[in-house]
């Protein structure tokens, strides 16, 4: 995932490698479920890929296996929530948010049940398995559905906080996790609030507004640009909906350029959401959306795909510098 230069920058910034966000999710959910027997996980032959095998062993009465049947998974998750269970439907994001989109829209969001949907191995986490297994559409389609909180954690800290928030929520929540080990980006005392971006680095040259597994690359790019005399802002936009419009507007008004970064197609994701906020407020600033373009995604592992589309320390710092010089 990281070039030797990026690894050196991570070390310079004091970042420590953690585990996969997916593992953090599974451990957090198991901890919560042990304390609250009302929590139920629903899986579609996905407990292995969801890292929920230990959960299933420890709490066999709190897991419902539906087999390879994602539509059924979402309907059952909704029915459980409607009858008082805190249900977590866990399935690869590629299937969960495409095949069962109608169930998400009607059974969860329109019916307004307090269920949580967890899109595992999202984005290009299944890299080399190809487009069938990528979810580069999920944020776009889910943003277009009313009554859904959409969370995309960047590191283990945000992952844990997102699950704690989802477990308490009385409205539908979708959380998206990748499966690569992640650098820790936050101090433990950091405040996590749904709908509020976390500022990882202050600066008024380029603002990087990033989400999920791309945030670390934006942070490294800001580190590299600092060595070239540029002070860049980095926001972790873990909450795609509700979106922190204030933080976006502040970035647009105070910085010389805005770069958004997401593991998602450039259509309908974080970037277009930020553009809409800025334009409608009359904020005009050099602006670039980094994500996967509208083409058949290049074959390769997640790291290859990221690098190919410029989601890397080198790619982002070069783009940021170009926008303001």
């Amino acid at each position: 995932m990281f070039t030797p230069a990026a690894k050196a920058m991570a070390e310079k910034l004091g970042l420590k490698m953690g585990r996969a966000n997916l593992e953090e999710f599974a451990a957090t959910l198991e901890e919560l479920a042990k304390a609250n027997p009302n929590i139920v996980a629903v899986t579609s032959d996905s407990r292995g890929s969801g890292k929920l095998a230990p959960f299933g062993k420890a709490l066999p009465k709190q897991i419902v296996e539906v087999g390879i049947a994602e539509q059924n998974l979402v309907g059952i998750t909704a029915g459980l929530a409607a009858c008082g269970k805190k249900s977590f439907g866990v399935s690869p994001s590629c299937f969960l948010t495409a095949r069962s989109l109608e169930q998400i829209k009607n059974d969860i969001c329109y019916s307004d049940v307090p269920a949580v949907l967890v899109g595992i191995s999202s984005g290009t986490s299944y890299g080399a398995l190809g487009t069938t297994h990528h979810s580069l559409h999920d944020l776009a389609v889910l943003r277009a559905i009313n009554n859904l909180t959409i969370l995309v954690p960047a590191d283990n800290f945000e992952s844990r906080q997102a699950i704690l928030a989802a477990a308490k929520a009385v409205k539908p929540v979708f959380v998206r996790f990748g499966k690569a080990a992640m650098f820790g980006l936050h101090k433990p005392e950091t405040k996590f609030e749904v709908g509020k971006a976390i500022t990882l680095r202050e600066g008024n040259d380029v603002a990087f507004i990033a989400t999920g597994e791309t945030v670390v690359h934006a942070l490294l790019a800001a580190g590299q640009l600092a060595e070239r005399g540029l002070n860049c802002r980095v926001l972790s936009m873990h909450s795609i909906k509700p979106l922190d419009a204030d933080a976006i507007l502040q970035a647009g008004r105070e910085c010389r350029a805005v770069v958004t970064v997401e593991e998602h197609m450039v259509n309908g994701g974080l970037g277009e959401a930020c553009a809409a906020v800025l334009l409608q407020a009359g904020v005009h600033v050099p602006f670039k959306i980094v994500g996967m373009p509208d083409e058949e995604t290049v074959p390769g592992a997640q790291a290859d795909i990221f690098r190919h589309y410029g989601i890397s320390m080198e790619g982002l710092s070069e783009l940021g510098e170009k926008l303001i010089r």
């Binding site: 059924n72 059952i76 998750t77 459980l80 059974d107």
Partner: protein, 263 residues
């Protein structure tokens, strides 16, 4: 009441509403432990109408049971009225928002599983159309309900044999329905869906311990109105004033005969 509501709204699903009206009346008056007073009780029975398009019939039955004033039916489909053309939880007595087909059974499984987990005694019912069975999600749910031995779950199929395009056997044949559900591990009962005594007997208790119940209710689309019965165009046909008058007359006459018979 159903026909009047459809006439007033100027739109609605007439044929399928009449085919399942007897089933709904039987459920809400004889079977479901659900009333306006206990609707907040976590131990109430649950009913999810998978064939959401027959909403006028459901609204009429709920109004008749006192969930909301009958006068509300005049607002169906009107600007800013919550009485939209498919069930929503904004309406007292409705559990889940339905209307897209193939959703009720998976939701019902979640509800029935919750009851089992909690050791609660409530039962879960869902009503499906026979044309709706072409949706694959029903068969995903068919496997899961049997796998989890959900004998607290009852699926009723409104078997009127007609859908919007024409006879279901021409659109996408699904017979033999009873054998299919049995093969999926369900206990199956076939009843006359307009016979209250037969419906009551079939719905009163689970058919078999350890198995979900499937009740195939043989019904007539447009039941009770001579010119609507078994005519596909009445799937969502709206009666004219003259047609409404004739239909209500026929239903009233049939009601009188039924009353004399029971007396």
């Amino acid at each position: 009441m159903t026909l009047q509501a459809i006439f007033d709204a100027g739109a609605g699903h007439t044929g399928g509403g009449l085919s399942c009206l007897d089933i709904l009346n039987c459920l809400y008056n004889r079977i479901l432990r659900v009333s306006p007073e206990n609707f907040g009780d976590p131990n109430r029975d649950r009913y999810v109408q998978s064939k959401g398009h027959s909403v006028e019939a459901l609204y009429a039955v709920l109004a008749d049971r006192g969930f909301f004033p009958v006068a509300d039916l005049k607002t169906i489909g009107r600007y800013q009225s919550h009485y939209v053309g498919h069930p929503t939880r904004h309406i007292p007595g409705i559990e889940m928002n339905t209307g897209a087909l193939g959703h009720g059974l998976p939701i019902g499984i979640g509800m029935a599983l919750a009851a089992k987990m909690d050791g609660a005694a409530y039962r879960v019912f869902t009503l499906l159309g026979d044309g709706e069975l072409a949706e694959g999600s029903n068969w995903e749910a068919g496997l899961a309900a049997a796998h989890y031995k959900l004998d607290n779950l009852t699926a009723i199929i409104d078997h009127n044999r007609l859908q919007i395009t024409g006879p279901t056997c021409d659109v996408m044949s699904n017979e033999p329905l009873d054998e299919k559900w049995r093969a999926f591990g369900w206990a199956v009962k076939v009843v006359d869906g307009h016979d209250y005594a037969a419906l009551t007997e079939a719905l009163s208790q689970p058919a078999e311990a350890g198995k979900p119940t499937c009740i195939i209710a043989n019904t007539i689309k447009g039941k009770g109105v001579s010119f609507m019965e078994n005519v596909a165009k009445w799937h969502h046909g709206v009666p004219s004033e003259a047609e409404l008058k004739q239909a209500l007359g026929e239903l009233e006459a049939a009601g009188k005969i039924l009353q004399e018979k029971t007396e």
